[in-house]
């Protein structure tokens, strides 16, 4: 039998989560697809002159279990994270159960000048780093004066 104990850590973690949500700057790019704060996986996006860098915080995944799709400028990240169950012990107790498990799906709209052929994804230390380069024509360049 699994049971959940009333552990103060649960409450603290929830407060921390709440604070994290409030801390997130509200003025940044409201998207019609929503931001799903506190969802899994957490996502950071930064825009550079040559590329858009996306960091997806999805620890404990097998990279093969993460699916990335890019269609019409919309990037979909989905997969499934398996739960770590206590190893078949009937007397095992679950004291804290905070980590996400199950299927997840997050959708991002890429900037209009994103190059669909210039997407590189790499998984390291539990973070999926997706680098989307901008089309050559829209990169900043110096114009020679004749």
């Amino acid at each position: 039998m699994l049971y959940r104990s009333v552990f103060p850590g649960d409450l603290l973690a929830q407060l921390e989560r709440l604070q994290r949500g409030m801390r997130a700057a509200p003025e940044l790019s409201p998207s019609i697809r929503g931001l799903a704060r506190g969802g899994f996986p957490a996502i950071n996006v930064s825009a550079g002159p040559q590329s858009t860098e996306i960091h997806v915080f999805a620890p404990g995944m097998n990279p093969a279990d993460i699916e990335l799709h890019l269609e019409k400028g919309v990037l979909t990240i989905q997969g499934e994270r398996k739960a770590e169950a206590p190893a078949g012990d009937e007397k095992a107790a679950v004291h804290i159960d905070e980590r996400f498990s199950g299927r997840f799906r997050r959708v991002l709209t890429l900037p209009e000048d994103a190059d669909p052929d210039g997407v590189v994804a790499r998984y390291r230390d539990g973070v999926l780093h997706i680098s989307v380069s901008r089309k050559q024509a829209s990169q900043p360049r110096r114009i020679d004066i004749q």
Partner: protein
């Protein structure tokens, strides 16, 4: 109520230096001991630190600086680059026999049941 001084340093910038994220954990207990899983995405193995002193286990991790990304942050859900969380251990747990593994940003700790409590550092092994 935000004021439009985007370039000015935020008043809470100094406070942010001390801010940490609390990693999500799972804790299971069976007859032999306690198993703890902690999500620490973005932390390389050499920036993870585990510390046991008397009856407190502290997990700390610093994210790789590469995660700050280049350019301007346009969407931020992980705003602080470090994690910290402490747990109080009960006396029957044997802190001398803690086994730790860290892979893909997930820390797995196995703390068997026994006695004793003295400060020591735990080596992280390749999981």
């Amino acid at each position: 109520m935000s004021t439009n001084n985007g370039n000015a340093a935020r008043p809470d910038e100094a406070v942010r230096q001390d801010e940490v994220l609390m990693p999500a954990v799972d804790v299971f207990e069976d007859e032999g001991g306690i198993t703890l899983y902690a999500d620490l995405p973005g932390v390389p193995r050499d920036r993870l630190s585990l510390h046991v002193e008397s009856d407190t286990l502290t997990i700390e991790g610093q994210m790789s600086p590469e995660l700050a990304g280049g350019g301007e942050a346009t969407h931020v859900e992980v705003a602080v680059p470090r994690y910290r969380r402490a747990f109080t251990l009960s006396r029957e747990l044997d802190v001398d026999k803690v086994a730790a593994a860290f892979e893909h940003g997930v820390l797995r700790l196995r703390i068997p049941k026994a006695s004793h409590a003295r400060p020591r550092r735990i080596e992280v092994q390749v999981g």
